[in-house]
């Protein structure tokens, strides 16, 4: 199949496939008249990459995951990748929640204190006024 068919089959854009090839994440396929020709394993590989991107793994991590597939490493390897990723997701959630609390405090501070004045005096823009994160 040609690249456009692969793209639809795996749910990835054509330039993205070429990009993955350029960084060594996908192995370059055979060519016919200069055009890339793919097989069904390529659909599998690319679908896996897409799945991992949906889970927000980095391309670096995905490279490691693909390598562990090729070496037939045990499943526990995959799981530890996933657990580490889960920890970083939770860290990011905690940071965003702290930021959310800060923003809520600033907005309500604006409503009770300075609404009606001009921007330079707004509590939202006062450094070091309210910080929850």
């Amino acid at each position: 199949m040609r690249i456009g068919v692969l793209a639809k089959a795996a749910g990835v854009s054509v330039p993205t496939i070429r990009y993955y090839e350029s960084i060594g994440l996908l192995t370059p396929p055979a060519r016919q008249g200069g055009q890339r020709i793919y097989g069904s394993e390529d659909v599998k590989a690319l679908s896996l990459i897409r799945h991992c991107r949906d889970l927000d793994f980095s391309l670096d991590d995905i490279g490691d995951i693909l390598a562990s597939l090729q070496r037939r490493l045990p499943c526990s390897d995959t799981k530890s990748f996933a657990e580490q990723h889960l920890r970083s997701i939770r860290t990011k959630i905690a940071e965003l929640r702290a930021l959310e609390a800060t923003m809520v405090a600033l907005v309500s501070g604006c409503e009770t204190t300075c609404c009606g004045s001009t921007a330079p005096d707004c509590v939202i823009l006062q450094p070091g006024q309210v910080t929850c994160g």
Copy 2:
């Protein structure tokens, strides 16, 4: 004061200050012998930018905020920037929580189903198995 002093006063790195100037966020200061010389208003302006970056506003947004300061627009303008930003923070939190739930399901699925097998069969890597987001 010179750029290094400003940097410490506002809690921003020296290259970052030059970068802000290059994109037009900071107005270019006077020079002495080719070196940038700043005043106390520059500390204020840069501290404000840093404050907004701490709140994770984009530099584009910060440009708009600075413009609304210069035009002495009402505080309600600032507040609506903040509210919109708060909404996008909450959207991102929701996305990350869905992702967190998916990852938890995948990891526990791995523990109960496939731990001990090799990576290619791991449920974590099966597209379309578990999706919460």
